[in-house]
């Protein structure tokens, strides 16, 4: 279930996967997948289940199947670390899902850009589309509309009298829209409701405005 969002005079869909869908351009926008993180941990001696790395790819395939986008825009932290054993899995995924990919680099994206170019993934620092600036790092004072990631926002909610849950969320502050992390094995950073203008939480398969 998605929630419609009017932002910067455009219509978007906030998807419960954490992705943003832009119907006018038939594009999906995702942030902070942190691919290769499980492999990175394993390489350093933490025995996480290696099967878990495929979860991110099944999320991506489900997303692509759901919207059939012409383009996937990744606004940073696509890969968690340097090249590791997961890179071939990623290559295989991109080759079998032939659509347009654009990567806006984040602080974790330290892999040589030529590796991405070889897969026909366009790499840039920021991108301006229809008067919206796409960047990895948010800027809450941005004079123009801006869509970013980086923060992995989540909010803590009281559910009932004594139960509290921390849930991933989208939020808007001034001209800035921040996306939650799309990745499976990524942490969250809690924001406070009072600090932002609008919050949309992901509650299982639904997106709810708070």
């Amino acid at each position: 279930m998605s929630q419609i969002l009017h932002f910067a005079d455009h219509e978007f869909l906030l998807d419960a996967s954490g992705a943003l869908y832009w119907p006018a351009r038939n594009s999906v926008i995702i942030s902070d997948i942190h691919l290769g993180k499980i492999a990175h941990f394993r390489k350093h001696g933490a025995a996480l289940p290696s099967d878990a790395q495929f979860e991110n790819y099944s999320r991506l395939s489900r997303l692509i199947a759901r919207f059939s986008p012409e383009q996937v825009l990744i606004i940073g932290d696509l890969f968690h670390s340097t090249l590791n054993s997961e890179w071939p899995v990623f290559e295989q995924f991109i080759r079998s899902h032939q659509i347009g990919y654009k990567l806006i680099v984040g602080n974790h994206d330290i892999i040589d850009p030529s590796r991405f170019s070889a897969l026909d993934i366009e790499v840039s620092d920021t991108l301006n589309l229809d008067n919206i600036l796409f960047s990895h790092f948010p800027d809450h004072q941005s004079p123009i509309y801006r869509i970013s990631g980086h923060l992995h926002p989540a909010i803590r909610l009281n559910i009932g009298s004594s139960e509290r849950r921390t849930l991933k969320c989208f939020y808007i502050k001034n001209n800035q829209l921040v996306l939650p992390s799309f990745g499976y094995f990524t942490g969250n950073a809690r924001i406070k409701r009072s600090e932002v203008d609008q919050v949309y939480v992901i509650a299982e398969d639904q997106v709810i405005a708070i």
Partner: protein, 810 residues
């Protein structure tokens, strides 16, 4: 008489003391190469009972480690070190005695490695660090005696497992090694001996020695002058502050024990406000306060410069404070062992009486004071439950050996199976662990870069990667601290730690009290809470999770026993019961005061709904489980909307319709089978397991907690254990560490065994149902609890929608 005994008696006499019977027994048994358990209170001379044999058995001419003394606390290890060194010098033995713990400088550690002392005083973690260093097997070969102090405290924790494993290694290295444990008096000491000894070799002899020392403890309840002003519920006890201040004035030094850190902060503030004359003479001590400040406080107690210290269980153990004349216990200590330990903190001079003032936080709690007096007569404390099959600790231990000299898979399996903890370890389980270490629990996949333990050419399991080895050494141990943020002054200076969630709710300018200071929050910077001194009144007191205590089963039995006094003639009652007379009269008029085998249930109606209050008197953790279980099982029979509340005495189901009490028995709702499945669905066991898993993930080094003071560089390797838990839950639910989290939650947090016994007992009793017209003194504290659990089967999204709808209304 053995030479050791003779020399020991002579020396003790020269110091002006006559040996106790238990000391003579220890000396004789140790001379005869026996192993044993000594049960003796602190301050009774237990150090010399085993310290003298350790010194006298050592050969000063041999440059080798011959005795190890393990203590749970650094502070305690220093005292032992001083005592041993004093005897060594006074007898002119010429032995080298060294101290090694987390505070020991690298230079000193290297010196110890090159030039081995004869005797080492250390902690379980530091002992494992020795096992993680190359050449340990040679250095520990000549070991004769290992003494484990405060064994009752260690054996119920994973640090006890560290000791069991280390002992199994040491026993293989030195065939003449003997082991002694020192503990408080336990109800059943055979278990303590079994855990310490593991599977015994045939020629090994074990003895248990009980020090027959009567430590007189006097319990004085502070009873309010007028009972009608005494609240029926509460948890702070502040209304008795005048009497507490009066008690402080009567003594040179007192320790004021509170049950939680926030209660400690609050009491400290209130005492200073009420009695400003104590400024500078009163201090605070709890585990979130910076270690330097804490040791300053400890020293200040010793040199008599403090009148009172408000503290938590951080001062329960160990160090002897001679000047302490009395203890003030705020609220029920909830367990006999904890109470005895605290009581023992006062009256340290031989023959002196330990004086304890008990400050009830509400009326009914006064009964606990009377129950504790009964506990003193029986002298024995609860048996700790030892941990079984701790795969997390075993994984850490395998890495420890892999880092130093390597191990052989088959022989180490036989060796660890000799410990109590791993006696039931199967070959399959062992293979799983080895595969976990070598292949990261996966079947070998070609693209995988998992790296940890490898088989080397000599068929030894080793960790060759230096980075991994270094990270391992930094993470040895089983004490997992909470995610804590440092509180620092803007001008510099570290004060202590608060939990992340408390820091998260602070806004710039908020004033809170911490470590006895009034502080203004400035900002959060790199995991640091930056503050400055504030002059305005504080509005917040930090609280810490996990501070809550619940009755132990011994405490519960004592309480039920004590309650019988209410049925005795007034003249035979303790002063607490005499003071509670009006309250018991009211309880008896409205309902019943249950006799020992009776199970009281009170039923009444208010405008809130139908109240059903059950009184098992088993402590709040057990009550939480019972209430959830019962509500869930009722809801299976017919739709039920109810809320739950509980305290240490009983629990309540509040519903919109009356429950038929007899139906609970007729429908077999107290059945003890399938409790895991039912609790899994009713209580938030997943959440509890997730918390247990956090410790397991750290101990087994699935998460790297970072280098001290260098947290940023390793950030790419950090992850919350919650995330890990989810990963295992969906991708590797048969992982032994994940299963261990579930098992430990059930066995240690929910006390499965006890829960089953209680359910079976309830199922067999006839309930005593009282239909009341009003809340009773017993039920009042429960039904007015504002933190109620609600039984709900709505979806997450619906609950959030409902909540936001509510927000908009208000």
């Amino acid at each position: 008489m053995s030479a050791i005994t003779e020399t020991s008696i002579k020396w003790l006499n020269s110091q002006g003391y006559a040996p106790h019977a238990f000391q003579l027994e220890c000396w004789a048994s140790a001379s005869a190469q026996m192993n044993g358990l000594l049960m003796a209170p602190t301050g009774s001379g237990k150090t010399y009972a085993l310290g003298l044999p350790m010194l006298l058995q050592a050969d000063a001419s041999k440059k080798a480690l011959q005795g190890i003394w393990i203590t749970p606390l650094r502070a305690l290890s220093f005292e032992i070190y001083q005592a041993l060194n004093y005897a060594n010098e006074s007898m002119g033995l010429g032995l080298q005695i060294a101290l090694r713990n987390g505070d020991t400088a690298t230079k000193e550690r290297q010196r110890q490695q090159k030039n081995s002392p004869h005797i080492l005083v250390t902690t379980p973690e530091s002992l494992h660090l020795i096992l993680a260093s190359k050449g340990y097997s040679k250095r520990l070969k000549q070991l004769k005696l290992v003494v484990i102090d405060e064994w009752h405290d260690l054996m119920g924790s994973k640090r006890g497992v560290l000791i069991e494993l280390a002992l199994s290694r040491l026993r293989s290295l030195s065939s003449t090694l003997t082991t002694w444990g020192i503990s408080a008096t336990l109800k059943d000491h055979s278990l303590a001996v079994d855990v310490l000894s593991g599977k015994r070799a045939q020629n090994q002899k074990w003895v248990s020695i009980r020090a027959d020392i009567d430590k007189a403890i006097e319990v004085v309840s502070l009873i309010p002058k007028t009972m009608d002003r005494f609240p029926w519920r509460g948890h702070l006890g502040i209304h008795l502050i005048d009497q507490v201040i009066e008690a402080i004035h009567k003594h040179k030094t007192v320790l004021i024990f509170t049950n939680t850190r926030s209660q400690c902060e609050i009491w400290y503030q209130h005492i200073l406000e009420k009695a400003p004359e104590f400024a500078g003479e009163i201090a605070m001590h709890h585990s979130s306060i910076d270690r330097q400040t804490r040791s300053w406080v400890e020293n200040a107690i010793r040199n008599e410069s403090l009148r009172a210290v408000v503290c938590t269980s951080s001062l329960d153990l160990g160090v002897d404070f001679a000047p302490v004349e009395a203890i003030i216990q705020i609220g029920g200590p909830k367990g006999v062992a904890r109470f005895m330990q605290r009581a023992g903190r006062s009256g340290h001079q031989p023959g002196a009486t330990s004086l304890v003032y008990f400050v009830p936080t509400h009326a009914i709690e006064l009964i606990e004071s009377s129950a504790l007096r009964m506990a003193i007569e029986s002298k024995a404390i609860e048996n700790p439950t030892p941990y079984l099959l701790c795969y997390d600790v075993l994984i850490q231990y395998c890495c420890t050996l892999a880092v130093s000299e390597g191990y052989k898979e088959a022989s180490l399996f036989e060796e660890v199976k000799k410990t109590h903890c791993f006696q039931a370890l199967t070959l399959e389980g062992w293979k799983w662990i080895q595969n976990f270490l070598v292949n990261g629990s996966q079947s070998l996949a070609t693209y995988d870069e998992y790296k940890k333990v490898v088989h080397n050419e000599e068929h030894l399991m080793v960790i060759e990667n230096r980075g991994l080895a270094m990270r391992h050494r930094l993470q040895i141990g089983t004490i997992v601290s909470d995610a804590a943020l440092q509180v620092v002054f803007q001008s510099g200076g570290y004060i202590g730690t608060v939990e992340e969630w408390f820091a998260a709710q602070l806004k710039a300018g908020d004033v809170f009290t911490f470590a006895g200071r009034t502080l203004e929050f400035i900002r959060l910077k790199e995991l640091k809470v930056v503050v400055k001194r504030a002059s305005s009144k504080p509005s917040k007191v930090p609280s810490w999770m996990g501070g809550r205590l619940s009755f132990t089963s011994e405490m519960s039995d004592l309480l039920k026993e004590t309650l019988q006094q209410a049925h005795q003639p007034h003249a035979d009652q303790d002063e607490e019961f005499k003071a509670l007379k009006p309250i018991f009269e009211r309880q008896a008029k409205e309902s019943y005061v249950p006799k020992k085998e009776e199970f009281l249930i009170e039923v009444f109606q208010t405008k809130e709904g139908f109240h059903h209050v059950f009184y098992p008197f088993e402590g709040r953790f057990i009550h939480e489980a019972l209430a959830s279980l019962l509500a869930y099982r009722i809801s299976l029979m017919h739709p039920l909307s109810c809320t739950l509340a509980y305290n240490d005495y009983g629990f309540e189901l509040l519903s919109d319709q009356p429950l038929e009490i007899s139906a609970l028995w007729e429908n077999n709702l107290w059945d003890s089978s399938y409790i895991y499945e039912d609790l899994y669905k009713s209580l938030n066991i997943t959440e509890m397991s997730r918390r247990t898993f956090r410790d397991i993930a750290v101990i087994s080094q699935l998460v790297f907690t970072g280098y001290p003071n260098k947290s940023v560089k390793t950030k790419h390797l950090q992850s919350s254990s919650q995330l890990l838990f989810e990963v295992f839950k969906s991708h590797e639910p048969d992982n032994l560490l994940y299963l261990q989290a579930k098992r430990e939650t059930l066995e240690h947090k929910l006390e499965e065994g006890r829960l089953i016994r209680i359910l079976d007992r309830i199922a067999k009793t006839d309930p005593l149902v009282a239909h009341c017209s009003l809340p009773t003194p017993f039920s009042f504290p429960i039904i007015t609890d504002r933190l109620r659990e609600k039984l709900s089967n709505e979806s997450l999204a619906d609950r959030i929608r409902k909540m936001t709808a509510k927000l908009e209304h208000s």
